[in-house]
Amino acid sequence: MTSMTLGSGATAIDLKHVKVFYSDKLAVDDVSIPIYKNKITAFIGPSGCGKSTVLRAINRMNDLIPGARVEGEINYHGKNLYGKEVDPVEVRRRIGMVFQKPNPFPKSIYDNVAYGPRLLGVTDKRTLDEIVERSIKGSFLWDEVKGDLKKSGLALSGGQQQRLCIARTIAIEPDVILMDEPCSALDPIATQAIEELMKELVKSYTIVIVTHNMQQAQRVSDFTAFYSIRKAEETGGQERRWGVLGEFAPTEQLFSNPKSEETERYIRGEFG
């Protein structure tokens, strides 16, 4: 399965034989997938299959975990993100991330959104005001908070907090937005708001989303990567588990006509 056969436009990121280790224990083995530009790619699979691990490898978030190591290549604009000359800080400025649990800073709504631009050296008040307004509008939160940007980000509801986190991410205008189960802590209405927002955002951004919710993957994504778990008995009777890529296909095809039996069983809800 190569990007050619799926081919629809340019890729933003190419994962080639990516392996992730946590303190020398293999966590994910040999993942090769393309992430298409201005498309939503969903990562699905049972718990412990490494889908979040792969996601966090894409913007070098795993660097923050002591002992984490990535092998293989993650190519971004023709450059391997794990090349020696690459600065992870620069990577994260271009590949933003939205986390599972909304994690606004304990600062005002304004300061939350202005955080990234300020890091990039924007100090002019008027420019910041513009960026903040544009970003909050971009995450469909403006009408709810426009009167009171001084209010703490933590005073918002869970769904609003998550949209604030998205606003914060798009304020630095990344190429790619990684979303790690962004709706798992939200109620259905807030989830719907985020999903609609994603469909809007994908016009200007490339999105990768990890989700436990197969309906969500079907609703929002263009491509889906299914990850599954491999197990092996180790000497001493201990079981070793690691994640592998099960199948990658356009979402419609993966859900209607899965190639592997494992994928089919998973999407029918037989395990997970």
Partner: protein, 390 residues
């Protein structure tokens, strides 16, 4: 306490992990229930204790600290026991703890009472100025504004003592806050798990050194050092700089340790959010971690100031033995702090009820009010600047 009841037959014998725990019926049912309890509470069955009370069986799930998390009980009839019953031990503990609380509050009130009444006696009797009201007001005015403390001449101005206290505390904070915060940031953000687990206990041992040792350290090391750097003509043997600097070293571990706790408590999610937006490590620390932990850091600083203001042994040994007011403040001359003065005077022959004796209570009250104001300030500051993350 949550109670769980189930039907048990008291005569069924059960061994669990080679220990006789209890006799009961339907062990597997019980085990399931216990496992549910344990799953919910994060406890392991090793903490389960069985107890035979007559024909009834009680099983309690305990935490490691002994607190009872849940209990399963039945009576001899085999029916679950759910009726209310007296808990004498609980009641006893309740009153015991209430007594502990009451004693500490009453002690404080007692100290305030003694301080207040003796200080009032002082202010009513130092220099008579006709009626009681104007005497108290006049003496209080002299006490708060006077720059000379000469009991022999009837001069009781707090400023020489207060100034020395402020100077030594200022010196101490100058050392302790930046170094302490720096150490805390290093420990919580940069040090590896192993380095941290070695360094933190060492730091805490430093906090346990008796202050008299620090006092000698000031005289035998810090003062000669200052004299070497600034010259013997400038630096007197007894001086507030030496005492203050060493006091800073004494407070350093407290501030470092408390600040480290505050920084470590900042959720990982906030750090990740910052890194995810392309922040460097230092940007993350200075713009997210420290602001989020600021209330704890300020609390640490206030505890440090309070300790510096109240510290006695170091200043008594190294700062000097005579009240002296200098303006502008000269850190290299001898002076006596409020605490140092109290220690020296009460060490000599002091007759009960004399003016000297009563003046100490006036200083004591001033110290008390000073630290009280510091505490109130810290509460205000922490509430005002805190970035609460929960």
């Amino acid at each position: 306490m949550k109670r769980y009841a189930l039907n048990l037959h008291p005569n069924t014998f059960v061994r669990y992990q080679n220990r006789n725990l209890f006799s009961l019926y339907q062990w597997s049912t019980l085990k399931c229930l216990l496992n549910i309890v344990c799953d919910n509470t994060g406890l392991t069955p090793i903490h389960i204790r069985g107890q035979k009370q007559d024909m009834a069986t009680t099983i309690e799930v305990k935490r490691k600290n002994g607190a009872i998390e849940a209990a399963l009980a039945n009576d001899a009839s085999g029916r679950p026991r759910i009726e209310k019953r007296g808990r004498p031990f609980d009641d006893f503990m309740r009153y015991l703890l209430l007594a502990c609380g009451t004693i500490s509050v009453l002690t404080t009130l007692g100290i305030v009472w003694v301080l207040g009444s003796e200080a009032l006696a002082f202010f009513t009797s130092v220099n008579d100025q006709g009626n009681v009201f104007s005497t108290v007001l006049g003496n209080l005015g002299n006490f708060l504004t006077g720059t000379q403390w000469q009991p022999g001449a009837g001069l009781f101005g707090i400023w020489p003592l207060l100034e020395a206290t402020l100077m030594t505390s200022f010196m101490a904070m100058l050392v302790a806050v930046p170094l302490g915060l720096g150490a805390a940031v290093y420990l919580s953000e940069y040090a590896s798990q192993r380095t941290r687990s070695t360094l933190k206990p060492v730091l805490e041992v430093l906090a346990g050194i008796p202050t008299v040792v620090y006092g000698y350290f000031a005289i035998t090391f810090m003062t000669p050092l200052l004299q070497g750097v600034f010259g013997r003509d400038t630096v007197q043997f007894y001086n507030t700089a030496s005492a203050g600097l060493v006091m800073g070293i004494m407070i350093l571990p407290t501030i470092a340790s408390m600040s480290e706790d505050a920084l470590t408590a900042v959720p990982r999610a906030l750090r990740e959010a910052s890194y995810g937006l392309g922040a460097t490590k230092f940007e993350t620390i200075s713009k997210v971690v420290i602001p989020a932990g600021l209330s704890g850091i300020l609390a640490a600083a206030i505890v440090g100031i309070s300790r510096a203001v109240g510290e006695t042994m170091i200043v008594a040994l190294a700062a000097g033995a005579g009240p002296r007011f200098s303006f502008p403040p000269d850190f290299f001359v001898a002076a006596e702090t409020m605490t140092g003065h109290i220690a020296r005077i009460s060490g000599g022959d002091l007759s009960y009820g004399s003016i000297d004796y009563q003046s100490l209570f006036a200083i004591g009250l001033a110290l008390f009010i000073f630290t009280l104001l510091l505490n109130m300030l810290s509460r205000y500051v922490t509430n005002r600047f805190r970035e609460a993350y929960q």
